[in-house]
């Protein structure tokens, strides 16, 4: 059997490694060559299967903690520096306590709690209470469990895929955690009543991307290790979905 000249390019095509012109030519070739199109489809399916199966192990949460300890800057041994650090800590403690007392839900606490929730979800063997990619399954599941409603739908052609949802608590108030996927990254979206849970999400929370906003009386937070642009995009989609 005469083998097709394109055969060696199938892997490159599936891996997105062909130059744009070559890729276009290959795509054209696939229309006419049953052999190559079957092989390309097969490789695509295999790649997909491997992607799902290979994500087998999640780093235990305590590994995050110990790595952070290891890589955080070491304490200075110079005494005057240590003293000034202690003085600064006392001053900071005073400021923080004041902020804490004057506002029951200090933003940093809320955000830290939500980052914890996100990490727990990532590490858990049962990350969802409701597993479905269908927003019409996920949304009704929260009925009667949280005192508000929202729309978890993102457009089907977007890069984000709904994976499921979970009931969570923050500041002793019930809320919804929705989990989406983009590429290999999981994204948690937390929704609470804004009067119960609120606070600004800052940019650099232990390297997680956190994005918070309020809309129609609800407080939303996005927590993820994906890139900031991903969080921004998902936020825009959810804002759209919950506008009317």
């Amino acid at each position: 059997m005469k083998s097709c000249e394109w055969q060696n390019k199938i892997g490159l095509y599936v891996d997105g490694e062909l130059e744009p012109a070559e890729e276009q030519a290959f795509a054209g070739h696939l229309q006419s060559c049953a052999e190559c199109s079957a092989a390309a489809l097969e490789q695509q399916e295999l790649k997909k299967a491997v992607r799902v199966a290979a994500k087998r192990f999640s780093a235990p949460p305590e590994l995050y903690a110990s790595v952070r300890r290891q890589i955080s800057p070491k304490e200075s041994t110079r005494p005057w520096l240590r003293w000034s650090a202690i003085m600064a800590s006392i001053a900071l403690l005073a400021v923080v306590s004041f902020a804490w007392l004057s506002r029951p839900s200090a933003p940093s606490t809320t955000v830290a709690q939500l980052i914890d929730q996100h990490v727990i979800m990532l590490a858990s063997v049962n990350p969802y209470d409701v597993i479905s990619q269908d927003p019409h399954t996920v949304k009704p599941w929260f009925q009667g469990k949280v005192p508000f409603t929202f729309n978890p739908a993102v457009p089907a052609d977007s890069r984000f895929k709904l994976l499921g949802g979970k009931l969570v608590y923050a500041q002793r108030s019930p809320g919804a955690e929705l989990v989406y996927q983009v590429r290999q990254h999981k994204i948690s979206v937390f929704i609470f009543q804004a009067r119960d849970v609120h606070g600004q999400a800052s940019d650099s929370n232990l390297a997680f991307t956190v994005n918070g906003w309020q809309q129609r009386g609800l407080q939303y937070y996005i927590v993820t290790d994906a890139a900031r642009e991903d969080a921004d995009q998902l936020r825009a989609l959810l804002e759209d979905a919950n506008r009317s």
Binding site: L41, E45, L46, V52, F57, D203
Partner: protein, 190 residues
């Protein structure tokens, strides 16, 4: 703003404080990779910790314009290769390097159906039976979605070797999966 730096691309003008921002998001992937390499939870934890310590130490020498993620994976892998398990692997493993494997495909492919119906455990077993040199290249390409160039940097091998190993690894995966009798597949399993 430190938090906006994207760890996947090339980076430049970095300071030490950026290390955490760049490196911590890679932790989960590095751990998964370390588990697949070493096959042991404790060893994987140690490998990841050592990787972070080494890479932080070497961060000042990290060359601008090179790929941070590939650099981290390279450190992890080198750490593994100098560990006990890694040395054993180097001594026992004879990698054969050939050109691109021949891909033989018949016109009809019930294979596509078989691959689609393969459940996660079956695919995991297929990955596990690969020789380590093939396994790592598949993991980086398919799970970490690295480009060939990135994989070549991470594994310190020529790009041609990346391609030939990948082709051979996939051939072996495919053969393993389609050779399994149908009763071992769980239809519709996630």
């Amino acid at each position: 703003m430190a938090a906006t730096i994207v760890a996947r691309g090339n980076v430049s003008g970095l300071e030490n404080k950026d290390f955490e921002t760049l490196a911590v998001p890679l932790l989960d992937g590095l751990y998964n990779f370390a588990r697949w390499l070493s096959g042991d939870a404790d060893e994987a934890r140690d490998l990841v910790q050592e990787t972070f310590v080494k890479s932080l130490k070497g961060f000042s020498s990290f060359r601008e314009g090179t790929n941070f993620r590939a650099w981290m994976y390279r450190i992890l892998r080198n750490t593994f290769l100098t560990s006990r398990t890694g040395l054993e692997r180097r001594n026992t493993q004879q990698e054969d390097e050939e050109g691109l494997a021949e891909i033989s495909i018949s016109q009809e492919t019930p294979e596509v159906t078989l691959i689609r119906r393969a459940n996660t455990e079956l695919v995991q077993a297929a990955i596990a039976q690969l020789a380590p040199a093939f396994r790592e290249v598949v993991l980086l390409a398919d799970l970490e979605e690295m480009k060939y160039q990135e994989i070549a940097e991470a594994l310190d091998i020529p790009i041609g070797t990346v391609m030939s190993r990948l082709a051979r690894a996939r051939k072996q995966l495919r053969e393993y999966i389609i050779a399994v009798p149908d009763q071992r597949r769980i239809v519709g399993a996630k």
